[in-house]
Symmetry: C2
């Protein structure tokens, strides 16, 4: 009932081998034969069977997209970009969610299920254990990490340390000295360095300015507005309130901002807030932030993986560090 390659072959008056080659545009088929085959295929509405093709060739024309979340803006934006890039060249994106929970009891992700399923992998800054990573490597397909580096694989990321420094220096430049940080937990040992590096950047810039922020100024929150708000509420309780907050992401910053306003702080008069990402919403709400080219992360990662799949070994170990930029809007200003 479905039209097979043999049907096309018959219609075009050639062998199935020629049809296979012609439709893939292999050079060993004469231009005219190619045209004949193409026409016949189009006429019959032929579509190659992906499974048959994969089975025979070993290629899946699919790239796995491994991610702990699909719903957070950063991840979602990268995912969208990767999918688009892949689709443009005829590749499919297989979405693979891995346990987002940082808890130890979560069952580990079994990379084996991907064996033979994908030609390459794009891994979004996932909190994977060394074991899980090894499993992925054992797949022996090109892997590109996004938002995190990993030895032996490609990566696309930003310089998180510098992000932390830039954000903090912006605040320092405005005259702030009591600058707090809200972000990731340094006790977290997973493969998720971004929040830690941003925190380190903050600390380094502070120290460089001769300041030594008290411990309570380093607040812990995961990358959500809700926990950002809670962290800010704690900061506002402090006897020595900070005058500015560097949030490790815009999402966190939204929560911080909201808590500040609810506490009667004027922004930026009483409280300056800066985030990281340049979230889609940030421009609309006037949040000052360190912008990073999120979609570009995805695009590049996809391109790298595709290149290596295509045989370009020269890029096999490429590590791209994308530029970030300070975007000044209305949530930062000089302290009172």
């Amino acid at each position: 009932m479905t039209v097979r390659i043999e049907d096309v072959a018959r219609a075009a008056g050639v062998s199935t081998a020629t049809v296979s080659r012609a439709l893939r545009g292999l050079p060993s088929v004469s231009a005219e034969t190619q045209q004949i085959v193409r026409d016949a295929a189009a006429e019959l509405g032929y579509v190659v069977s992906r499974s048959a093709s994969s089975l025979a060739s070993g290629r899946t024309l699919t790239v796995g997209l491994v991610t702990p979340y699909a719903s957070r803006w950063y991840y979602a934006t990268v995912i969208e970009a990767v999918e688009r890039e892949l689709r443009a060249v005829g590749y499919d994106a297989l979405l693979v969610g891995v346990g987002a929970s940082m808890t130890e009891d979560a069952e580990p992700f079994r990379a084996e299920v991907l064996r033979g399923r994908v030609d390459g992998l794009v891994i979004l800054t996932a909190p994977l254990t060394g074991q899980e990573l090894d499993g992925l490597r054992r797949l022996t397909v090109p892997i590109a990490f996004v938002g995190a580096g990993a030895p032996g694989a490609m990566s696309v990321r930003i310089d998180d340390l510098s992000v932390g420094r830039t954000a903090t220096q912006h605040l320092l430049g405005l005259g702030h000295a009591k600058i707090a940080y809200v972000g990731g937990d340094p006790a977290d040992r997973r493969n998720f360095a971004a929040p830690l590096d941003r925190r380190a950047g903050w600390l380094s810039a502070m120290r460089e300015a001769g300041l030594d922020p008290p411990a309570p100024y380093a607040e812990i929150s995961d990358f959500t507005a809700a926990t950002g708000r809670q962290a800010m509420e704690r900061l506002l309780e402090l006897p020595e309130r900070p005058t500015a907050v560097f949030a490790a992401s815009d999402d966190i910053a939204f929560g911080v901002l909201s808590a500040a306003r609810d506490a009667g702080c004027r922004v930026p008069g009483d409280m300056s807030v800066i985030g990281v990402d340049d979230h889609e919403i940030s421009a609309a709400v006037g949040l000052t932030t360190i912008a990073q080219p999120v979609a570009e992360h995805g695009r590049l990662a996809a391109k790298l993986v595709l290149a290596v799949i295509g045989g370009d070994d020269s890029r096999r170990h490429e590590h791209v560090v994308l530029p970030t930029s300070l975007v000044c809007r209305e949530t930062t200003g000089p302290p009172r």
Copy 2:
């Protein structure tokens, strides 16, 4: 080099047929044989070849996830939920982005590329043309729509008309009369009724209250904070400023809120704002909204598709309408 079913068969001392059946837990294999095979497979680290399996059986164990966006919160949340539900039962999620642009010149989505690729489809409120939809139907796999209905397929959605009415009635109940709407373009003819229905609900509630909002009170914006802000800026220019705004989504509401505050409006004193979705950020920023169970949409859609794939024809035409609820927070209150 890779371990094949034959290797397992040899190790277990049975035929490949038995291995195949045993690993899938078919009842026609004795319990002890099953155990022997399982052990042998585990021992060898055997993983079934998906392509071979698909080719032979016609099943792909994959469900396509068709979406115009992956990065917007609503879509991303549904996607995450669908993926999780699928993975839990061993199915893969194939992400398929379709042209999000509403423009006519965008090249149409060719459903044929999915032929033989998926066992089912979850389609997120996509602006598909009738032709594109027909192409999908021709795949003859179970299809569940999310956020939009479609004749002849399953669907999971909310009652958008009622959402519009509830939101508006909340505002009316607080004493507002000058209530504006910010949302989708009624000129848009694609398969995307939600914003239109919400608008209709607003209008109906207004009329029911004996009010007839002037045309400029119906502002157009797509589902982003940026355009929501612009729409609000226009509303604020009006000689007769509204005292409340019903935004068709929380994203829009964020833009609206921001514009209002920047214009010096106190919220909710001078301006009440209500959205729709209960976006992840909404709780943190205190946005009053009509909550809908977004992840539940995805979960249910996946379940429906899986059920029909599993042969449960009774659900083939199921249309689920999920409940919504008013969540009162700090952005709505009585007018001055």
